[in-house]
């Protein structure tokens, strides 16, 4: 217990440093990128005077150090600032987009794991067979396919062709929760398939590593059933790399579904980040990236903690 508490404290300290770095780096990057939110907001016909006036109104003409100080102070108070473009608090904008991103991530990872674990395990067990060869080839293809391309194909077939799913969006004003989830099916399948490729390959490789080990042979020699040997003895020992890759996939899905969200017109966090970059909406870029980084760090932290639970030998 003490060991877990020590690891926890060590990790929390590291997380704080990473997040402080993210805050600073993101602030600097968005400010040095050319482009002016006021000019973007006012459109191509805006005069320099209009742009200057809006900059003043939005506080963009304040010295950079003052803007940075205000940003950091805000974070400490739980305030990520006010969106320039959306004219609402960044936390509100993020909260409004959390639902589609959360469920998209959840469904995608469920689909990916549901495909990857059985296929990866079976492929390792049947190493060198036709099934294994097919799995290796298909996972290579799936890993190479951009999720947005797969998304477009799914739209063509299942939205335009069959009419089973909507082509885009997250529903209108009177859409029920289930209908909103219906909008997530195609993007979740697109992301799930692409992510399943990586997890399958890791699962297969991790299982191959342990299937030849002495304790597996011993288990078989003791007369344990093949199912017990694979699931209890081999899989348990192969879990660390598999958990790692699943954790990374979840973390990457939170912000990495950007293109898929754009293709499917989903109002998620990824889409918000892309729009904010194009609009040069500094507070939203900063706030969203900070939250995404925090989630990323948190997932990695959870994965590290899971290591301890799965394998008591692990020292953090």
């Amino acid at each position: 217990m003490v060991r877990i508490a020590q690891a926890l404290l060590k990790r929390l300290g590291g997380m704080a440093i990473v997040l402080a770095l993210v805050v600073t780096v993101v602030f600097v990057i968005v400010r040095v990128t050319p482009g002016d939110p006021a000019a973007v907001m006012l459109g191509s016909d805006a005069t320099p005077e209009d742009i200057a006036q809006l900059r003043t109104k939005m506080g963009l003409d304040a010295p950079l150090i003052a803007q940075y100080g205000q940003f950091v102070l805000g974070i400490l108070k739980g305030d990520l600032g006010q969106s320039i473009f959306l004219d609402q608090p960044v936390t509100t904008a993020l909260a409004a987009r959390a639902e589609p991103t959360f469920f998209l991530t959840l469904f995608s990872i469920l689909i990916a794991v549901a495909i990857a674990l059985p296929v990866g395990i079976f492929s390792a067990v049947k190493r060198g067979t036709l099934f294994d060869q097919v799995v290796v080839t298909l996972t290579m293809v799936a890993a190479s396919v951009p999720s947005f391309w797969l998304g477009l194909i799914l739209i063509q077939v299942f939205a335009v062709g069959q009419g089973w799913f909507p082509a885009s969006g997250y529903g209108g004003p009177d859409t029920s929760f289930l209908e909103r989830l219906h909008h997530l099916v195609l993007p979740a399948v697109a992301l799930g398939i692409v992510n399943s490729a990586l997890i399958t390959r890791f699962t297969r490789a991790a299982m191959l590593d342990v299937l030849g080990d002495d304790y597996v042979r011993t288990a078989r020699a003791k007369g344990a059933s093949e199912r017990r040997v694979i699931l209890k003895h081999a899989l348990k020992n192969a879990l660390i790399p598999i958990i790692t890759v699943i954790g990374l996939s979840i973390a990457m899905l939170v912000a990495g579904a950007v293109v898929t969200e754009t293709v499917f017109g989903l109002p998620g966090v990824g889409n918000l980040v892309v729009s904010a970059v194009l609009r040069r909406d500094y507070p939203v870029i900063q706030g969203a990236l900070l939250v995404v980084a925090a989630i990323y760090v948190l997932i990695n932290f959870i994965v590290d903690m899971l290591y301890i639970l799965v394998d008591p030998r692990v020292r953090l």
Partner: protein, 504 residues
């Protein structure tokens, strides 16, 4: 017996028609737009997407007809103008209600126009010539000018929206207008939901562009931001959207062949131009700007950008055919793409090989393609070209600095008044300041009748061609798509959905 039969037939017809109305008026129109509006405050941010949505909620005193002439909307008639052209009395239509149930009166108009003159760029220009703005009873306003100002009615036709005086604030929080639809809910990046305003009082007359009778047939309009053009196409074909804005020209055949939707072309949506820097750098020399004019081939640039002649036209007149302001006056060094003539001009101007910085953006793919062809033609003429491809946000920042560029590529729509085109403004990037221009613009400003304005505009266009502050590449058309079953849609620059019947 005969009369009984007639009565029965009439009753049956009445039944059918009321049934048809009941079906159509319950419909919802889902409109896929190119993106999320930054705000619904059209005074503050009069961009196309804001104006497209806002025109259903808010109305102006005047609006544009097919020829882009200003005609009454909230105003009862054209203004009574004093003989010296300095006083405009504008009577208001009576019985108009705002969405909150309050009545429109002169106080609302003066308060709205006062805010517009404080926050809107065109409004600020108008503020400089307005002596006073006052109420004349409850149903008329009087505008007194310091000097004659020809574009007054055009500026009262766009973004100068009228709202209840009590709702006016620096930052608008209530979006209440007199339009055929009222705002119900806005979820940024998801939808803007408008519902039919049952208390709407329409202007009379045949629909003509934005003018004439407006009937809110659909119960609801939902504007859904769909930034990805392919997704707009697929959503239209799959029946998810009733209307999709700004489709790629490459999707035309696909939409047409789908059977579920039809493509609609709106001709002369806007014009693309290469704007030149007259303040600093190479192109401060008029001869070099004229060499640019001579070198470029508009047809090739537009063909590269829009791929098919259905989607563009090449026309030296700044305003297209059909517009009140179309004229061939002064059109010179346009349409040929003559590298030899350009080379001669370069030699006469003593061009020393300094690179010409041509700035364009890939955010608008047609800007980039126009830039590629322009570069080839300019190089053929002897210019050394440094083409800088940046994103649009970067371009808008850089173009504000005269040290950064020589030419930038942009596009504009055709405003209701010719003097509101950006290039005519001294401060617009390019900084076109000339005595000749000032003189002809002053003549225009002094004009009161449309005939006098047209004549004055001919003079301005001639001076623009001689001074060469820009090169017009050509006019482009917009492709939009309408779902089969939706009827009554008439293409306009800012697509509108009153008088449109949703599919059953």
């Amino acid at each position: 017996m005969k009369s009984a039969l007639v009565l029965m037939t009439l009753a049956a017809l009445a039944g059918t028609s009321s049934l048809a109305i009941a079906q159509t008026t319950d419909g919802v129109l889902t409109v896929a737009t190119i993106g999320e509006p930054p705000t619904l405050d059209a005074m503050q941010t009069p961009t196309d997407i804001v104006l497209t949505i806002d025109q259903h909620i808010f109305e102006t005193l005047y609006t544009y007809d097919t020829e882009w002439r200003s005609v009454p909307l909230l105003a009862a008639a054209m203004p009574e103008i004093s003989e010296d052209g300095l006083t405009y009395r504008i009577a208001l239509r009576e019985g108009i209600k705002f969405h909150d149930g309050s009545d429109l009166d002169a106080k609302d108009v003066t308060a709205s126009l006062t805010r517009w003159m404080a926050v809107n760029s065109k409004g600020k220009q108008v503020a400089e010539v307005i002596e006073s703005l006052s109420e004349d009873g409850a149903n008329a306003v009087v505008v007194k000018l310091k000097s004659r100002y020809a574009p007054l009615l055009a500026t009262f036709s766009q973004a100068s929206i009228i709202m209840p005086s009590e709702k006016i604030a620096d930052t608008l929080t209530d979006f209440i207008g007199t339009g055929p639809y009222a705002l119900k809910e806005r979820k940024p990046d998801q939808y803007t939901q408008l519902v039919r305003f049952d208390g709407y009082k329409s202007p009379e007359g045949e629909p003509s562009n934005y003018a004439g009778k407006r009937e809110a047939i659909a119960k609801e309009i939902r504007f859904v931001p769909v930034p990805d053009a392919n997704t707009r196409v697929e959503g239209l074909i799959s029946g998810q959207f009733d209307f999709a804005d700004s489709l790629p020209v490459s999707a035309y055949e696909r939409v047409e062949a789908s059977g579920n939707a039809k493509p609609v072309i709106y001709e002369n949506t806007g014009w693309a131009s290469l704007n030149m820097n007259m303040k600093e750098g190479l192109l401060t020399k008029k001869a070099l700007r004229q060499a640019v004019q001579a070198a470029l081939n508009p047809n090739d640039m537009m063909l590269a950008a829009f791929s098919d002649e259905r989607f563009f036209s090449v026309d030296g007149s700044i305003f297209p055919k059909g517009s009140l302001w179309h004229t061939e006056s002064g059109v010179a060094r346009y349409g040929e793409g003559d590298p030899e003539a350009a080379a001669k001009l370069l030699e006469e101007a003593g061009y020393d090989g300094t690179p010409l910085r041509l700035m364009t953006s890939r955010q608008y793919e047609f800007h980039y393609k126009i830039g590629e062809v322009a570069k080839a033609y300019l190089e053929a003429a002897g210019f050394k070209v440094d083409m800088q491809v940046v994103d649009w946000a970067t371009l808008t920042t850089r173009r504000a600095d005269p040290k950064e560029w020589d030419i930038f590529i942009t596009h504009s729509n055709f405003p209701g008044d010719p003097t509101t085109i950006n290039t005519i403004t001294d401060s617009y990037p390019g900084w076109y300041v000339s005595d000749e221009k000032a003189k002809v613009v002053a003549t225009y400003m002094d004009a009161v009748s449309d005939a006098d304005k047209q004549k004055a505009w001919e003079g301005i266009q001639a001076v623009i061609y001689d001074d060469a502050p820009l090169f017009k590449a050509g006019n482009f058309n917009a492709v939009t798509g309408v779902s089969t079953g939706v009827s009554g849609y008439t293409p306009t620059y800012w697509p509108h959905f009153w008088n449109v019947t949703p599919k059953k």
